[in-house]
């Protein structure tokens, strides 16, 4: 008889084994307060060392928007044809940043918390969840700045703004999913964290943040598949839907170009469900191995 047989015969179970999926989900749900408190504590500690403190939460997105406006709006003149380029650009940058930062912090969520993982028992998926919630809290700050900019530029406050809620929720699900995927990748291959910034920058330029896909599609008239492909890109989908919710002038402009956007809602739903479910299962399947590296 081997020791393993002896142990299982006497009803013992492996201490580093991963719990069944249902139990894991229940444990994770039970840790929801941990996820939320972890996120808010981290966001407070991020800024307590800086002199201006919490003000940076608002200043950082503002400065980012200003830099992008200077480079792409003033220097490169990307704005041609797009009405109200500033709100267009700022919306794009802020919304895409939510995904970008979720991926970046998600990739480090296991590696940066090894001491916590090695000290206490909890479902490890709490960590990527917490980091995305942290980014969601940052996005809320950015949105306040964004609303101020958009209103200051003379955009009307309409019922369309309410569409922002479902878009952000779908994007949140997508971000959690993709963050779970990179969290597992980053936990076992740290090199990922060095490659991610380059991939994310490429993604940024492919996502129609600084230009309007509806506007440039005329240039690709003989390659309709390319436009279809660019439209399917989740980075583009969530940004574009947010713009349609917030910016009335842009909405009219795209309508005039005869460029329907109804199908983008299906893409948004598709990506959210696919990434959330797929990412969760992918992360879960390595649960017992986090903490070794």
């Amino acid at each position: 008889m081997s020791l393993a047989e002896f142990a299982t015969r006497r009803g013992l179970s492996q201490s580093a084994a991963r719990p069944p999926l249902r139990q894991y989900i229940a444990q994770l749900w039970q840790r929801r307060h941990f996820v939320w408190t972890f996120a808010s504590s981290k966001s407070i500690s991020l800024y307590t060392t800086a002199r201006l403190g919490q003000l940076w939460q608002v200043l950082t997105p503002l400065l980012n928007a200003a830099v992008y406006y200077l480079i792409f709006g003033v220097l490169l003149q990307m704005s041609r044809g797009i009405p109200d380029y500033i709100p267009f650009l700022v919306t794009g940058v802020f919304v895409f940043t939510f995904t970008q930062r979720s991926v970046n912090t998600g990739a480090k969520s296991v590696g940066d918390n090894l001491s916590l993982i090695r000290a206490l028992h909890f479902p490890r998926a709490s960590l990527p969840f917490a980091y995305v919630i942290l980014e969601l809290q940052q996005l809320m700050m950015s949105l306040i700045v964004l609303f101020a900019i958009v209103l200051a530029m003379g955009e009307p406050l309409t019922a369309h703004w309410l569409l922002l809620v479902p878009v952000i929720l779908l994007q949140l699900a997508f971000n959690i999913g993709i963050s779970l995927v990179v969290a597992r990748l980053g936990a076992f291959a740290r090199d990922i964290t060095q490659l991610l910034p380059f991939m994310l920058r490429t993604w940024f330029y492919a996502s129609g943040i600084i230009y309007s896909l509806a506007h440039v599609q005329n240039r690709f008239q003989d390659q309709p598949w390319l436009v279809k492909l660019l439209e399917f890109n989740p980075g583009y989908v969530y940004v574009e839907l947010c713009r349609h919710a917030l910016l009335a002038k842009y909405r009219n402009y795209v309508e005039d170009l005869h460029h329907p956007i109804g199908h983008l809602w299906w893409y948004a739903l598709f990506w959210a469900v696919l990434m959330f479910v797929g990412g969760f299962l992918y992360f879960y399947r390595a649960e017992e191995r986090y903490g070794r590296g």
Binding site: L3, A16, E288
Partner: protein, 273 residues
């Protein structure tokens, strides 16, 4: 995998490499041919560039800076309900690593650890979140261990009192704490929960005399509820007082497993040389 044999009068424990089990007692922890390996990244210091990272990934080669430490090399034993096991060995011999692996916090490279119930580790090296205040560490530590918001609120003051931290320190980040203060707080957080298998790693060593007395009482209290207690301590007297069995580890290998007097005598003789 390690073979076992039931205890009979004719087979002395030391005579065979097999583990001898006692069929009359109820096992609570079974360690079966356990190996634990640490992987350390960035040991070379240089961070590398994206291009070299890509090349390495394409070639499926590990980072040149990655080093491995084989901390536990094939340890096997069985612990029964009611046992208090002392673990001794020189610094870096793998005592803390062994406890973390039993707790299921460090995944085994090979072999396995089987337990009845969820083991909990009360350790001094179990640093939590350095950048957050003591208060946040208490709340997050409780929530992470699965306590509800209400339970956390109810336990909060008890943890603060037990840790003996002055009120002004509770609002400071944990990185500003002395190692004794940090250890006390971490011990208090982990002790807020009830445990099946209790693993105590040098928690008695840090802190002043008053905290030592308090934590020893806490361990006794926890031991009454627990099925088994593991104790790592540099103070051999404490081990001899509290344990009914001692395991001696050296360089990740088990040197001896037996009653406290014999093992401690052999250990003292070996280290005094």
């Amino acid at each position: 995998m390690v073979d076992v044999k039931e205890k009979t009068e004719s087979v002395p424990a030391e005579a065979s490499p097999q583990i001898v089990i006692d069929p009359t007692r109820e096992p609570i922890v079974v360690v079966d041919g356990l190996h634990v390996v640490y992987r350390i990244y960035g040991a070379g210091g240089d961070k590398g560039t994206a291009a070299t990272a890509l090349l390495r990934m394409v070639r499926r080669r590990n980072r040149p800076q990655m080093k491995t430490v084989h901390a536990i090399k094939g340890v096997s034993f069985v612990v029964y309900r009611g046992d208090a096991v002392g673990i001794i060995g020189s610094n870096g011999s793998g005592k803390s690593t062994l406890l973390r692996a039993i707790a299921g916090l460090l995944p085994p490279e090979r072999g396995a650890v089987y337990t009845d119930g969820q083991p909990s580790l009360l350790g001094v090296n179990a640093a939590l979140m350095r950048d957050l205040t003591g208060e946040r560490n208490i709340v997050l530590g409780c929530l992470a261990q699965g306590l509800s918001l209400e339970e956390t609120k109810a336990k909060y003051q008890e943890i603060v009192d037990f840790s003996g931290l002055k009120p002004e320190f509770i609002q400071l980040p944990m990185r500003t704490y002395s190692s004794g203060m940090g250890a006390r707080l971490r011990f208090a957080i982990a002790a807020a929960k009830t445990h099946d298998v209790l693993l105590v790693d040098e928690a008695l060593a840090t802190g002043d005399a008053r905290f030592k007395r308090k934590s020893k009482a806490k361990i006794e209290e926890l031991r009454k509820d627990a099925g088994a207690v593991f104790l790592v301590a540099h103070n051999l007297e404490v081990i001899e007082e509290t344990c009914n069995r001692v395991i001696w580890v050296e360089e990740g290998v088990m040197r001896m497993d037996g009653d406290p007097k014999t093992v401690i005598a052999a250990y003292t003789e070996a280290t005094d040389k």
